[in-house]
Symmetry: C2
Subunit: 369 residues, 2 copies
């Protein structure tokens, strides 16, 4: 049988998984149309609504990873010829733009320096200029740790009938994600970040406004697998068979959501902040500098410049992995070779983790001096 | 925490999962770019090649359920304007046709009665007449139990440069699936049938011919998530990050494949046949009749007519579930309310299962007399 090392997961995800989540995932499989599985789906939906802070009926776990959730929203909300405004300040904004294009949109991008966020006034200006059908920004840019404010955009988008879409893959349950309060029409996340469930599902939520657009499309959705009129009927309503849901992954998500809500969202946000400050202090004391905008940085993903005394950053990360079983993330895209990404997400956002990370860094970075 | 009944899974899938597969799935998560996970992916690929009986380099576990695998092949192999011939003798053939259409194909269908297979000579005639870019048939129609012969089609398709695609969701590792010997260009399966792994991944394999077509497309693939030039680079070659693979699902599939190969494919096929005969005998003795073509029926999926003494078939199935924890499948599509589908797949294909199924049926069907 498989024999694997036990890692400390402090990259950009997957994050450490609580033992009870692994236990839930290993419960004996049941049928995807079993009334007991319907109950699990209902409870997953209700808990996701709480975590997303929304009353959206169309809230579910898409049967793929975060990228599938992104594609589900782009494919369902965009028809050929629609326009889409996408903010690109990292890898995941770029991917949203690509997905919008493949869904048939004329894509307009706004660019910001990687690690920086967009000024909401500048976004509003662009929205009013272009009146794009879909406006999509990344709340938590996993490639840079940038934390995009989202609270002042909805009115302008709704004024002409547009849809506001948010990537909250890395932020959900780590910092406030206020779907209803911010007027977000559609958002997607991943299970393997602050929810601390293994990767394999993508929580998504869509407003009634968004579903009205989906239900009144003139063209078929590109994807049958991700077609929300079909997937939505399986998750609620007629319960019509569509695909076979990843049953055991939903067991795991159920338990991860239960743990999240048991802790309480506010407590969870505070814990992520507290532990982030501890790590930041330790890193600054060791001469590290942050590469992201200090005013708009995510607590759960720390983007730091690689110290000049580290000659071979990939070798240093390999050493962290092999000697300390510590995974941290390298830079992605433009930041490859320049930055490290250190994650403190969900079950892994603890003081003990911070100490282990700093000890390992001391061991490896001093070695390379 | 979740409390769930332990079911006997004898519907059309998911099938019963071996304890060691559940244990593997519950191993602590590791990173999706960890060298140890790359090893797991390599081993999954090598074992899938053995199970598919192929040397195809492009063999991997698509990060979605069987329907995602089907869509991956249709989306990658079809460009707008291509023609596609699809055999429709059940729900899953119909879905293939729909996916081909959404991928941009002009779709031609051949129809056969549900429960029957297509005569290969008739298919060959149609192939020669239409010369479709993609020819897609279902090897094991999960909605009817029909077992489609596939051994004489490839030459005609290859003669003019077409691609032969096979749905082997329910057949893989339960009856021979000879990808290379039959000249199949692309095939997809599911984990939750005869491989007896929970649902969540779709094994796919593509020949070099098929990948040549994918790599020389003139248009972008509809789907970014399922784009094989990107997914393929993550599974081999440059190992470029694409999406976060469902790590623990791949642990489970690794163990399920290990168990499959430890038993040996020929032994596994023989076991499915042997156990099928036992069930068939028991059902015939009880007055059941089969609704599928006896010459072309799958051993792992038994399509039977609902006995006339069963007044309310859905109530009978609910009773099987609540009193005996036995899941069997209702009819799907045209066969809803007319047939039952009784599965004996993978880990669940045992004499003990047959006895439990017959005992439960005796309890419930006699009750309704």
């Amino acid at each position: 049988m498989l024999s694997l090392p036990v890692r400390r997961l402090h990259g950009p995800g997957p994050s450490p998984v609580a033992p009870s989540v692994l236990q839930a995932m290993a419960l004996p499989c049941i049928g995807h149309m079993d009334p007991e599985f319907m109950r699990v789906m209902n409870e997953v939906r209700e808990m996701l609504q709480q975590v997303f802070q929304t009353e959206n009926a169309m809230t579910l776990a898409c049967s793929g990873t975060g990228s599938a959730g992104a594609e589900m929203l782009m494919d369902n909300l965009i028809e050929p010829g629609d326009s889409c405004l996408v903010g690109v300040n990292g890898v995941f904004g770029g991917r949203l733009a690509e997905k919008a294009k493949r869904a048939g949109a004329t894509v307009h991008t706004m660019e910001a320096q990687w690690g920086q966020v967009f000024d909401q006034d500048a976004i509003l200006e662009k929205i009013e200029e272009l009146e794009p059908t879909v406006v999509a920004f990344v709340h938590a840019e996993t490639s840079t740790g940038a934390h995009q404010p989202f609270d002042r955009l909805a009115n302008a988008v709704h004024a002409y009938g547009g849809m506001l879409v948010m990537d909250c893959v890395t932020s959900l349950s780590g910092v406030p994600v206020l779907i209803d309060q911010w007027g977000i029409d559609a958002a997607y996340s991943g299970t393997q970040k602050c929810l601390s469930c293994p990767p394999g599902l993508s929580p998504v939520t869509l407003s009634d406004r968004a579903m009205h657009k989906v239900n009144h499309r003139k063209t078929a959705v590109n994807s049958w697998y991700l077609d929300l009129t079909l997937v939505g009927n399986y998750w609620s309503g007629s319960r019509a068979y569509h695909h076979t849901a990843p049953v055991n992954m939903n067991f795991a998500l159920h338990e991860a959501l239960r743990l999240t809500l048991q802790e309480g969202l506010e407590n969870r946000f505070a814990r992520h902040q507290r532990v982030h400050q501890l790590l930041k202090q330790g890193l600054l004391e060791r001469g590290f500098t942050y590469a992201s905008d200090p005013e708009h940085s995510l607590p759960m993903l720390n983007l730091v410049n690689i110290p000049s005394k580290v000659a071979d950053e990939a070798a240093a990360r390999r050493q962290l992995l092999s000697e300390f079983n510590l995974e941290i993330g390298g830079g992605l895209g433009k930041l490859a070779g320049k930055c490290w990404r250190i994650g403190l997400m969900g079950h892994g956002a603890t003081q003990e983790s911070v100490e282990a990370i700093l000890t390992a860094i001391d061991g490896v970075v001093s070695d390379t001096q």
